[in-house]
Amino acid sequence: MTMNNLLRAIAPLSDTGWALLDGEACERLAPALGARKLVDFSGPRGWEHSASNLGRVTTLKGAPSKAVTGLRREVMPLVELRADFALARDELRDADRGAPDTDLAPLDDAAREIAMTENIAVFHGWGGAITGIGERSPYDVSSLGKKAGTYPREIAGAVEKLLCQGVGGPYGLALGREQYRIVIETAEGGGYPLLDHLGKILEGPIVWTPGVNGAVVVSLRGGDFLFESGQDLSIGYDSHDAEVVRLYLQESFSFRIATPEAAVALAP
């Protein structure tokens, strides 16, 4: 059997155990990976993939020969995210026996944290490593407001800003946890759900995006925001002793913004 950097084949886990962990991780990650529901995704290009092409160059000065000029390609390095967790081996042995209630809380916590970190990196940036959509958006940041009544006006205003710049839709809306809760719990005058009202304004999805502070309206026309995956989210093996097996969730990616004006950030 071939083995890559995740070292899964030497972990003290049965195939049943791995299937349980992979399934649990997918279940926990998919709802929380809000950024992936709104930006373009390419890859995965593999763990060896270290940088994204920017198509740009810088001029090299002081070439050894006056008859030769030099250019250096500019690239964007990928970042690696890793969230460690440990599981009790007794629990995994019980899972092999068919226990339906295996305690996988440490895995769930790691999944939540790495998904939230990915969302924050995409929408708010990660100093020095990734520039977020909100950081590059050229528009003044207005506030959604504390109450649901102002949400339609602010989000319609954001859509209108995008239209004024010639940025077509449909549009998607990334909402932080608190803002999402407000939207789904609110019915406007006449009992019309706020969720449906906002959906009609956007003509696109409203996405629960833990880690987002406030909201971000993004165009979904494509080509504006590119998430490039090196190694997609994976579970790898670190070490074990008699009591626990230490594992980790890991991914590598870069994020590029081609059209900063294709998104509007809204503060809480």
Binding site: M1, A9, A11, A30, K37, F41, L233
Partner: protein, 128 residues
Amino acid sequence: MGFDQYHEPPDELPAQTRTFARLCASLTEEAEAIGWYQQRLAVETDEEAIAVMRDAQGEEFKHFSMDLELLLRRTPPWREVAEGILFQPGDVVEHGEESEAEAFDEGGPGAAGSYADGSLGIGSLRGR
């Protein structure tokens, strides 16, 4: 448009299984087209028509190979079996039996991960 590639209710299938089924259906269609062109070429006498059909069959070879490669990349146990059979000189049946035994008697797909790269295969979630 038909949805015959699904043997189980599509709503109950995860997205990656639906993609897998579509690729399998595509692989089948390309194989059928290769067979059809082979039969047409066997009976056609017009040289120009033969040239066009031969070129078209070449396209189907490419499509079939692309579908197969992607399916193998995403299905580690299938890939393991295939690696012992494809492009190997000698007895095809013998290689098949040996390859199957090696793939399934020495550990299943669990340790290798759901996908060939060991990842969870989540990818893009647009539209989900």
